[in-house]
Amino acid sequence: MAGKSGRSIKAEEKLTAKKLLFTWEGALILLFIAVNIFNMSISQSYTFANVLREMPKFLAEMFMVLPMAYILVLGDIDISVGSIVCLTGTLTCYISNAGAPFPVVILGCLGAGLLCGAFNGFVTTSFPELPSMITTLGSQIIFRGIAEIYLGGGGSVSYTNTKQIMPLSTKLGKTVPVIILVVILAAVIFTVILQRTTFGRSLYAIGSNKVSAFYAGVDVKRCRFIAYVLMGFMAGMCGLFLTAYTYGANTTTGQGFEMEVIAMCVFGGIASTGGKGTLVGGIIAGLIITLLRIALGQANVNSQMILVIVGALLIIAVLIPGIKGRIDEMRKLKAAA
């Protein structure tokens, strides 16, 4: 074969501490430490035990950060997930109230989520010319509409057999809440799949250049469908655990969750244009926002103000890479001159 020049191309990549620190994930870890110090300074009660106790009510959303990262990496977006949470939460209550045993309740909830995801996946992949923002806007309205049909005039439903769903909100060994363990397990699985498997690589390929990925034999349709199904399933998971902590559902359940989840991902460096970022970043970003909320809550900052602070933080986070890029450019120009 060719190769006449005998030129050698390096295939080793050296990972130095400095390089790692200059990734977005590295910066997030620093920010994570900084936020914790800040939290401790504003709140006396910001202790490990307290955080562990308060965390569960925020954690349900973390379930959705994981598959949302997949969707964003694909270059898609799913804004129907808040409605799926509402629908699955509502169904969970109705199934249980109808006297079904607990395993059936769980299966019903997760199954409903999965079906919602499959619906999104089917519609989105069948009409590739439609942006997913539009298709999921449609299903957002449909899913919440179905939930509201069930909820009826009262607009809410309670989980009457509270004892039945209690196991999901208990603490193992009286310290570690079950939900934390489930979130960690899910986070590990989702991260490994995205960063280490051929499926994960295919998602990045599609998000970076859909046409090239298709020409290279990536089954674009199937990958996108699976991502939406996973999204629906995990939204069902979120609905299940949310019900376990609130013992009911109403018409506002899960409202705005989609934007919070997307915000966590974007904050974590997963660009909504696709092909960029890692789930590690998304998870750290999710934790940072969660911890900040807990501390601000402890310090009696009112909840509207917390939203303002979190929103401002997000905008700053999204701006930083652009500013960093400009500084790098200026440095290079100086070096060349």
Binding site: A2, R7, I9, A11, T197
Partner: protein
């Protein structure tokens, strides 16, 4: 300095980008009313040079004289006002706007704050008439062909009363007929006194149009020559910096059994009743005008689009291809026409690009990516095709066109079950040096007994490399010529056999 002889003169122009000197003390002299070719390999600095002339980039050093007077452009508008306009290979038009709107974009005729549509349309019509264009000022740009879009760009240049027009690879995406039209327009403009800088990789263009040629290499000025005094070989040497003894190293290969056959394949609106075959070790060229259905046939073979009817056989077995993955599994590898949009993921490293089609095969248990294996394999194939890169992690976007094409080739070679390779315009936009290397690789593949299909619009490469040539016209195969029978005239005749009126009937 006589301001009569040179309309544009540049002296010792240096342009520095972060870390690289894109132009290093470059000289250039453009005579009044001449067509001056600017040649050089990709990355030689031609585009940067053009951007300096058109005021997009400001040079760090050097002087520019327009009609003898030194000028300093602070932006593209200054250059436009001074009468310099550029037409690019891919026209930067606004596809949903009309021809007239595109022509007058940025300098609309305005009176009392209102756009004077009637006047603009009339002026646009005047310009189009001058270019003998066959479309109207009210046509939507997006619906026109690339050639017509270029014509609009030229009209736009004329609308600003440009004295110097720069044409950047204008023929790269044109058919030979359309190129001929463009030649005529360029000659007409020249006769009207417009000075033209013509950038092209095609020697044909240069011989046909230019009186003088300036060559750049590695950001430096190499020389300016009279076109009728320089030989092809000398020019290549000036561009590449070394001699290329054999441009088309077509090896003598014992051609084996038939390995690939298409039978009566049709797709409504694109091609009809196409039958072809390829034997082991054979290089089969497919040519014809752009839009004759060449690419479309191969896309259907590879599962990118679905044909309406027809059968495909590989090594005697009928294939059932539904998606690209299926044809790849069978052993058919496609090198698509557009490297940047179909062949590569530009933001990815070279290594990842090479192993994307085979990542499942390399993965542990078919699921977990095996980075060590992937890196070693991509290194091996990238070195085999002699890619100019530092590491396999360099983003594909950082390479020149020719080297990107080599990465696409490496990506194909990495598919170890390959039996048939389909190369769609493998040397489009590739400079001479890399071209020769790609032909060499093609020859090696033929020697190893692969079947090779090469879709190409470039006559010299079709004649130089193919054992057999299929000619297509309006979605039909109009002829098949052996190497000994194939001549430029016969191919041209076959590729234009049917008049345009037959088109509808041909493909329905």
């Amino acid at each position: 300095m006589s301001d009569s002889e040179y309309i544009l003169e540049l002296k010792d122009v240096t342009k520095i980008f972060p870390g690289v000197k894109a132009l290093n003390k470059v000289r250039f002299q453009l005579k009044r009313g001449e067509v001056h070719a600017l040649m050089g390999e990709n990355g030689a600095g031609k585009s940067t040079f053009i951007k300096v002339i058109t005021g997009v980039h400001a040079a760090e050093e050097g002087h520019m004289y327009l009609e003898g007077k030194e000028v300093h452009f602070r932006g593209p508008k200054d250059a436009l006002d001074a009468g310099i306009a550029a037409v690019y290979q891919h026209p930067t038009t606004y596809p949903t706007l009309s021809v007239a709107e595109n022509i007058f974009m940025g300098h609309e005729i305005i009176r009392g704050g209102m756009i004077q549509w009637k006047e603009m349309n009339a002026k646009a019509q005047e310009l189009l008439d001058r270019l003998h264009a066959n479309f109207k000022p009210s046509d939507e740009i997006g619906a026109l062909s690339v050639a017509q879009q270029q014509m609009t760009e030229i009209a736009k240049a004329l609308s600003t009363n440009a004295k110097i027009i720069i044409l950047d690879e204008p023929t790269a995406s044109l058919t030979s007929n359309e190129s001929e039209e463009l030649y005529k327009i360029v000659e007409q403009l020249r006769d009207e006194g417009v000075s033209i800088i013509f950038i092209s990789h095609r020697f044909e263009d240069m011989y046909r149009l230019a009186s003088r040629v300036t060559v750049f290499r590695d950001s430096q000025y190499i020389g300016t020559y009279d076109v009728d005094k320089i030989t092809n070989a000398d020019l290549i040497k000036a561009m590449v910096g070394r001699e290329i003894s054999d441009m088309y190293p077509k090896p003598e290969v014992n051609i084996g059994e038939e390995i690939f056959r298409i039978e009566n394949m049709s797709r409504t609106g694109f091609f009809k009743d196409v039958s072809m075959n390829v034997r082991a070790g054979e290089i089969v060229g497919i040519t014809g005008l752009v839009g004759a259905g060449r690419t479309e046939v191969m896309e259907s073979v590879c599962g990118i689009t679905k044909p309406d009817s027809g059968r495909v056989f590989l090594e005697g077995k009928q294939l059932n291809v539904k998606k690209p993955e299926d044809s790849m599994k069978a052993g058919i590898v496609l090198l698509p026409e557009n490297r940047s949009t179909e062949g590569l993921i530009l933001s990815w490293g070279l290594g990842r690009n090479v192993t994307l089609p085979i990542q499942k095969k390399l993965a542990k248990g078919g699921i977990f990516n095996d980075l060590k294996k992937e890196n070693a394999l991509s290194k091996k194939f990238l070195e085999e095709v002699d890619t100019k890169a530092v590491t396999i992690f360099d983003p594909a976007s950082s390479l020149s066109g020719g080297n990107q094409q080599k990465v696409v080739v490496a990506k194909a070679l990495a598919q170890d079950n390959m039996k048939l390779v389909i190369m769609d315009e493998p040397t489009k936009g590739v400079d001479v040096g890399a071209k020769a290397e790609i032909y060499a690789i093609m020859g090696e593949l033929a020697k190893k007994g692969f079947g090779i299909i090469m879709i190409s619009s470039e006559m010299p490469e079709i004649l130089g490399m193919s054992d057999r040539v299929y000619v297509m016209c309006n979605g039909k195969v109009t002829g098949c010529l052996n190497r000994s029978e194939a001549t430029q005239e016969r191919i041209l005749k076959l590729s234009m056999e049917q008049g345009k009126s037959d088109r509808k009937e041909a493909v329905q």
